[in-house]
């Protein structure tokens, strides 16, 4: 497959869901079956195209193979904005993940959403959601990443609030949207920081510029934290994780889509995609945020009784793993876990949806004993549970093990052991609460007989996706399964070879960029001479991802320029040891977790109610989800309300005061002016009139109309004149 063909296929993958959206949105109502076949067919076509790209990259087998295509979207003289796509191994894997899950969710929804009043609208939104996510996957610059990032936010808003007539759903989508806005705010600041420092938004150019030192020190750290805030919002990391459990208000297929392939995967994908932009300080933040999220959400999952909520918290916990892995500088295993997790988490949600569809309840206390009634759902759900629990031979084990190994290695190299401890504890809790679901839902005696009688296996549109995902959950790590550095995944992704990208970039732009000119800073690794040797180092040999943390962290964390080889040997050794230890420990804790769950919820040797009664405080904290919502209600909301009250008061007192003051002043002036008018001007006018009228009144009396009176006047006048002339 030529590069041109890959680009064409990638563009068609992007546009097919958009087409599905447009057709279903505008014509769905008039079509037979409300047009659901359009969405399914077009997503099927997109899946075929994704598979073609996937196979093409498999054949190439070189993770550094990149195909980039762009056109000028906006040219403002000094500032040019390109729109384009970048396809490499990571993209190919992600396209597969998104298309598989989205296709199966489309298929499943034809069964699950059957008979809904806004059936066609649901498929339209699913298509739009998929389109937005594929945009994130394919974007080749930060601006378009951000555009699609926001589109994902919008479409998740539409889908979480799909049952908007329910008050809780309407609140949940608002919460998801607003919480994401907080993260996006930081994300945008991060993008602006990188753009201001380097003058480009293109990924590869950015990598080259950062490598050349265009942005460094605290600015690099803060810009990285800014970008990571986007991930914190979208991938629901602590402290912005609060929206994800509430997002369960959406229809279950949407939950599957959000949790597996779109939305939450976007954050992890973004950080993995932009890994070279994160300095060591930013990565440390990432590491701790991930570790804390993984741990606290796993503990919350222990006490929840709503099946979808438990799954939601397990997603949070698994996302915590991925983020933790990113923080340890190991983006390969993060993406690996994202891939395997997408399969079994989609399966878990669709399985849960199948159960909910059957019993019309989400509460596990209403279920029980469904194993016989719903065999396909049960077996597929069990496979997914085993995979997420980290049972060997299933995909989840390898990816999770890779992460724990990298985190432990990072701890051993840098002295941060806390993330590993939190991670391994969460790894022990995961099988416990996952098997709790299995035992409470499928085993034991039915607790609600009425619901149990009605329960039945779901139709074929729903079971086929379950079976397909169950197969994927087993083989996602390869047959036989293996960790990222040894499985099929190494053909698609290794840590970025930043110096090589920088060199390629420099070669393309013959005039060296300004920032590269002063490259003579003391760091040995950045000197041009050592570039090729160092550049080949983290590549496709057996350390693969192991070299990645060293690659990222060594130059920043240890300023001293010790020999690259000695350092790498040491790091490789530590990684090897760490991975063996992590593997042994994770098998141990998985066994422990499953055993404890079996002991508690199947054999019923431990009464959970008694444990609750013994630890009322802990139970209340967990049931209240560590009171994050209450904390925000007490701080952020109160602060917001207080601030708006202040603004309102300012508005009322100062602004309104000025306006009203002006009004009063105007009234005063016009009152005075009115007085003048009334008394001076009107006085003069009326005075003239009054004088004239008075004179008229007076003279009116003279004119009696009687001829004789006039005659008297005439005679009198004559007499007067005579007197005047004769006497005087």
């Amino acid at each position: 497959m030529s590069d041109q063909a890959i680009i064409t296929a990638a563009i068609s993958i992007l546009l097919l869901p958009l087409l599905s959206y447009a057709l279903t949105f505008f014509f769905g109502r008039k079509l037979p079956r409300k047009g659901d076949f359009i969405g399914v067919t077009l997503m099927g076509l997109a899946l075929v195209q994704a598979l073609r790209i996937f196979i093409a990259f498999w054949r190439v087998g070189d993770p550094a193979h990149r195909v980039e295509w762009a056109f000028t979207w906006l040219d403002l003289g000094g500032f040019r904005l390109d729109a384009g796509i970048l396809v490499d191994g990571m993209t190919a894997v992600m396209l597969m993940v998104v298309c598989i899950v989205s296709f199966l969710v489309h298929l499943y929804s034809t069964g699950y959403m059957h008979g809904d009043r806004r059936y066609e609208r649901f498929f339209a939104f699913l298509g739009f959601f998929t389109f937005s996510m594929l945009g994130i996957v394919l974007a080749n610059n930060l601006f378009f990443l951000y555009v699609f990032w926001e589109l994902v936010g919008l479409s998740s808003y539409l889908l979480i609030g799909f049952f908007f007539h329910k008050h809780s759903a309407a609140n949940a989508n608002k919460k998801a949207f607003l919480t994401n806005r907080v993260g996006d705010w930081g994300f945008w600041l991060g993008i602006l920081a990188f753009f201001t420092a380097t003058g480009t938004l293109n990924y590869l150019e950015l990598f080259a510029q950062v490598h050349a030192g265009a942005i460094k020190g605290p600015l690099l750290a803060w810009a990285g934290v800014g970008l990571f805030m986007g991930c914190v919002g979208k991938s629901a990391q602590m402290p912005l994780h609060i929206w994800l459990p509430d997002a369960m208000e959406g229809p279950t297929p949407v939950s599957a889509l959000i949790h597996a392939a779109t939305m939450v995967a976007a954050g992890v994908y973004m950080v993995a995609r932009l890994a070279p932009l994160f300095g060591p300080d930013a990565l440390l933040v990432v590491l701790y945020v991930g570790a804390v999220t993984a741990f606290i959400t796993a503990t919350i999952a222990l006490v929840k009784t709503d099946i979808k909520r438990v799954l939601a918290f397990s997603t949070l916990s698994q996302l915590g793993y991925m983020v933790m892995s990113l923080g340890a500088g190991d983006s390969v295993n993060a993406m690996y876990h994202l891939t395997t997790h997408a399969m079994f988490k989609a399966l878990l949600f669709l399985g849960a949806g199948s159960v909910i569809h059957a019993v019309h309840s989400q509460e596990m206390p209403d279920m029980g004993g469904l194993r016989k009634k719903m065999p396909i759902t049960f077996w597929t759900f069990l496979i997914a549970t085993l995979a997420i629990s980290g049972v060997p031979l299933l995909s989840g084990f390898y990816s999770k093990d890779g992460i724990l190994g990298s985190v432990l290695a990072f701890g051993m190299l840098e002295g941060h052991y806390l993330p590993f401890i939190l991670g391994i504890t969460a790894a022990a809790l995961t099988p416990f609460y996952m098997f709790r679901i299995v035992f409470l839902t499928f085993f034991g005696q039915p607790r609600d007989h009425h619901k149990f009688e009605h329960a039945h296996e779901s139709g074929r549109a729903m079971t086929i996706p379950l079976i397909a995902l169950a197969v994927m959950s087993v083989i996602a790590a390869g047959i036989p399964g293996n960790t990222a550095d040894k499985s099929w995944f190494r053909k698609f992704m290794v840590a970025y070879d930043v110096p090589a990208i920088a060199a390629e970039y420099q070669a393309r732009h013959e005039a060296p960029p300004v920032v590269v000119a002063h490259e003579d800073h003391p760091h040995g690794e950045a000197a041009p001479g050592t570039e090729p040797a160092h550049g080949d180092q983290p590549a496709r040999d057996e350390h693969g991802d192991h070299a990645a943390p060293g690659d990222h962290l060594a130059p920043g964390a240890h300023g001293e320029a010790h020999g690259a080889h000695g350092h790498d040997d040491h790091a490789a050794h530590v990684h090897h040891t760490a991975h063996i230890r992590a593997m042994i420990m994770s098998i141990l804790v998985a066994t422990l977790g499953i055993g404890a769950s079996w002991w508690t919820y199947h054999r019923r040797r431990v009464n959970p109610a008694a444990v609750q009664a013994r630890l009322p405080g802990a139970h209340r904290v967990l049931q209240g989800q560590y009171f994050f919502d209450e904390l925000y209600a007490a701080t952020v909301y109160r602060l917001t309300l207080w601030w708006s009250a202040v603004c309102a008061a300012f508005d009322r007192i100062v602004i309104d005061g000025i306006v009203n003051g002006t009004g009063y002043l105007t009234r005063l002036v016009s009152w005075v002016s009115g007085l003048c008018d009334r008394f001076l001007v009107d006085g003069a006018v009326n005075g003239v009139a009054a004088v004239l009228q008075g004179a008229g009144e007076g003279l009116r009396r003279v004119q009696t109309g009687r001829v004789q009176t006039y005659l008297v006047y005439v005679s009198a006048s004559v007499l007067v004149l005579i007197v005047i002339y004769r006497v005087l």
Partner: protein, 102 residues
Amino acid sequence: MNIGLPHFLTVSAALFALGLFAVMARRNTVAILMGVELMLNAANVNFVAFSRYVQHGIDGQILAAFVIVLAAAEAAVALAIVLALYRNYGSVHADTAQSLKR
């Protein structure tokens, strides 16, 4: 007692004053007309007296004859006016005819 010019003049002035009073004070237009006749005749007396005592000619008598003719014409016209007045106002009183005032 010798009758001289002052006696004539006195009679004439009295006549004129009476006529003037009648014109000014009477409401009846016919009486007013009569007052006018009195004043004209007072003038006639003056003409004749001055003609006899001052000029020694007949100019005064001729003028008096003219005045008498004129008075006849005036009476004819004035009585026609009085008739018209009566027809319009239903009265011969001068004070009822004051439509000029409005």
